[in-house]
Subunit: 575 residues, 2 copies
Amino acid sequence: MANGFVRRFLPVLDWLPRYRSADAPGDLIAGAVVAVMLVPQGMAYAMLAGLPPQIGLYASIVPLILYGAFGSSRTLSVAPVAIVSLMVASTLGGLAEAGTPAYVAGALVLAGLSGVILIAMGVARMGVLTAFLSHSVISGFTSAAALVIGLSQLKHLLGIDIPRSSLFVDVAAAAIPRLAETNFATAVIGLGAVGLLLLMRKPLAQMLSHLGVAQSVIAPVTKTGPLVVVILGTLAVWLFGLDRAAGVGIVGVIPGGLPPLGLPAFDPDMMVELAPAALLIAIVGFLESVSVAKALASKRRQKIDANQELVALGMANLGAAFSSGYPVTGGFSRSVVNFTAGANTPLAAIVTALLIGATVLLLTPLFHFLPRAVLAAVIMVAVASLIDIRTFRHAWAYNKADAVALAATFLAVLAAGIEPGIIFGIALSLALFLWRTSRPHFAVVGRVGKTEHFRNIKRHEVHTCPHVLAIRVDESLYFANASYLEDHLLKEVADNERIEHVVLICSAVNFIDASALETLETVITELRDAGVTLHFAEVKGPVTDRLARTNFLEHLKPGTIYLSTHEAMVALGCV
Amino acid sequence: MANGFVRRFLPVLDWLPRYRSADAPGDLIAGAVVAVMLVPQGMAYAMLAGLPPQIGLYASIVPLILYGAFGSSRTLSVAPVAIVSLMVASTLGGLAEAGTPAYVAGALVLAGLSGVILIAMGVARMGVLTAFLSHSVISGFTSAAALVIGLSQLKHLLGIDIPRSSLFVDVAAAAIPRLAETNFATAVIGLGAVGLLLLMRKPLAQMLSHLGVAQSVIAPVTKTGPLVVVILGTLAVWLFGLDRAAGVGIVGVIPGGLPPLGLPAFDPDMMVELAPAALLIAIVGFLESVSVAKALASKRRQKIDANQELVALGMANLGAAFSSGYPVTGGFSRSVVNFTAGANTPLAAIVTALLIGATVLLLTPLFHFLPRAVLAAVIMVAVASLIDIRTFRHAWAYNKADAVALAATFLAVLAAGIEPGIIFGIALSLALFLWRTSRPHFAVVGRVGKTEHFRNIKRHEVHTCPHVLAIRVDESLYFANASYLEDHLLKEVADNERIEHVVLICSAVNFIDASALETLETVITELRDAGVTLHFAEVKGPVTDRLARTNFLEHLKPGTIYLSTHEAMVALGCV
């Protein structure tokens, strides 16, 4: 039996030896359902990434198995996803022509670099760094990316020719005049597929529900939509020869056989050039993945270890790099399907991987006549749900500044592209936080009736006394708000000649940094020069501990740190 | 009588019409004392900036008067200072040869740009932005700058030839092998001046104090040190012909007459190139100035308006740009001298300006034989006090991280130069703050005896109950710590099967941003899926107000927001 450390680093050693046969049926069914969903998805997302379709299938074999061995989630499905595919396309678009060997080689390098970055972050326990990508930024970015993705598929959906670009405005400007060049047969297939996919979601589920079909059957059935449109579309092209007769774009020859194994090209210049994009792909992929993993794990009161997740996703991406794939991560809808279809252990993902392996070995000739418009429809319907207006509305109602950060990120991604947009969003949200904390809220407090409670004089009916100013600061004190505090206190004192004592109530002060401590010492001196004594009240334990290490208490004299505001007011003759 | 707005924007309209004759003696004496101090200082700092000596005197006339009209401080002395002079030298060093017309023109452009930037920040009320330069960064930067300045003056002090560079390491490496080339007469004068300046500080004051001389006389007398060494040095060179006989470097011909007025060269390319440096000069100058102004104003219970200070310093720098000067700011020691020598109103600064004006009109021939070594001595003694080890020690005892930020800034300025060093320091201190707030402190609390108080179970003897986890989070909740909170709560619940309710105590939560709100909603769902109900207690008024704007309370059900922890524990059957 492996010890705790190894079991933690390699969770397969935990779940596999203890595998219960009761878990097998759920794992087998869920693995098969996900495979049915993943075959069209893998080919579609590869097309979105500008890669040949088999690369998407290759990326759905080894990564799933490696994640199963290393991941702390039991039900995450790690394979290609839309957003990461778009990021790959946006990164490699400037490097080589889509689909060329150089382009495919670049995708391997991106997967390898992302893998190394993820593992390094996991080993260094830096998972917390990803927290600096706020929900607002992710939401704005995701919505914009969904629009970019949807627009990029118009050319396949309608059979028109639009030059590639990662800038939404460029693509939109190029697309509009060419809508007239739409290929009729392609558009019928594409829009038909979109309609059918939409029908097979809610409407089909409602119909089956009315017919009394069990929910456990309905959920997997509605997920077969992509497979159904793939089969119907392929049959239509094959039967009517639409590829030659009507100019419908098809997938064409897909090489059969298991993915070729091998090292990604070792090209230091290319690695340096791709490193920033690989970092962003790693972080965005990790955030999508870990949020799904957490949501699913908590439903069964299981735990997700964020740093282990980094290692596992990193191994999955390294696996993709060594098996002719491209960057992968845990996808939201696919993992939910895996979970609801009954997956109990990572064996389900391994079943999926084996089925995809069988597909590339045996079934690729079947996809020859698959119309690209059908894959575009699969992508567009999948990403439509990523356009997230609810979060914006929510933020707007709750806090305008956060909503503005979200909208600004959204617009920046559309206007400037993915990388600059995300970086702008991160910088903006950090600036917003710093701004917020640099102008803390102050409340002058007074005594409520004859109690020991002191409350904001603006919100409550309270008693104050003229020679003591009791003021609560609602923020930790640090360099960016220290002089704001100083100005505020000096102004209060300069405005009111009768003040002899100031009591600073620190119940919401979680720390005081060295700069703020310097400023407090300056304030003590400045107030003393003005004939006013500064006191403190309700200073927290950890803050007091730190203050005690300096000569602050000496400096404060005759000022004192009182345990409670009430105690201070009694001592200062105010109660 | 001017109205409030105009009086606020132009404080001279406030103090001049109400000028009391009782204030005149103090203003006249203080103005004269500062002039005596400023003549050698102005020439010395101009030399430090790589400018001809008269530029330093020019910069000590119009700026003083303009600050007197616009400034909110009564006693600030706005003229050349050491740090800003070094920043000018470091900026222009890459642009032109020191002392050339292009170099002098660059100094005017820097002053003009700094002026415009300061005024713009003041009008836009952006003074708070300067708060992001923390004490630690300023302290590290100032100490490093003082070392760079001191080292840069070695060549004048010892009469050796060292190539100019703003990198400490380069200058130090170039200087050491040339120490052997020291000019004997120059070194005697230079080191003699250093010795005399040091003697005229504390030792002279102590001696005079022993002799019973009044403190009000001692303070100004000890400030005449620079004038005394200037006179003695000049006499020595003139009497013994040391410039020709012994190769002592002298100031030489200083053109007489008032400063030529005129526009700085309008060169857009140069402006773009100098803009970042001008911004840094503006911010560093403002911070030095406003901290002195605040300290002096509070001694008389007067107020400083930071945004008005920006405007006034900006006007002073524009004045310098139009009157052949270079960037200026409120100097610490000079302003303190002005204050202690009895300045009551900005009239003292105007007196100083008039005396400097008289000096450039009449006295410049007297400075012909002034040895550069004496000016170097004045600079070195002045900046020696800027080397600030106390703040580092203080920070080290109080908070290692802040001390490390200080030391890193210090080393970065020495190793990479002023601008990169400051920017590195700012980035580091912001990162430190974000890091600190991204990993908040949690305290699981229990009931103290039979009271209504709940305290940290690790610090106090308290009672808890197994089915309720009461946990206090000591930080505002925002995107960077939201998932840390989520992980922490899920881990606590996963580790303890008996928990049915979690009470999150928010007494130290000053705000919850939109991202954190999303995460809280996720946590509510995740905990509910695990059979646990989340509640809140002690949520602050402003936070509750915001939450009420959303459907959070609906989402929370059956969880509740309790007013106090005690109320929550009673309701959950724990008390």
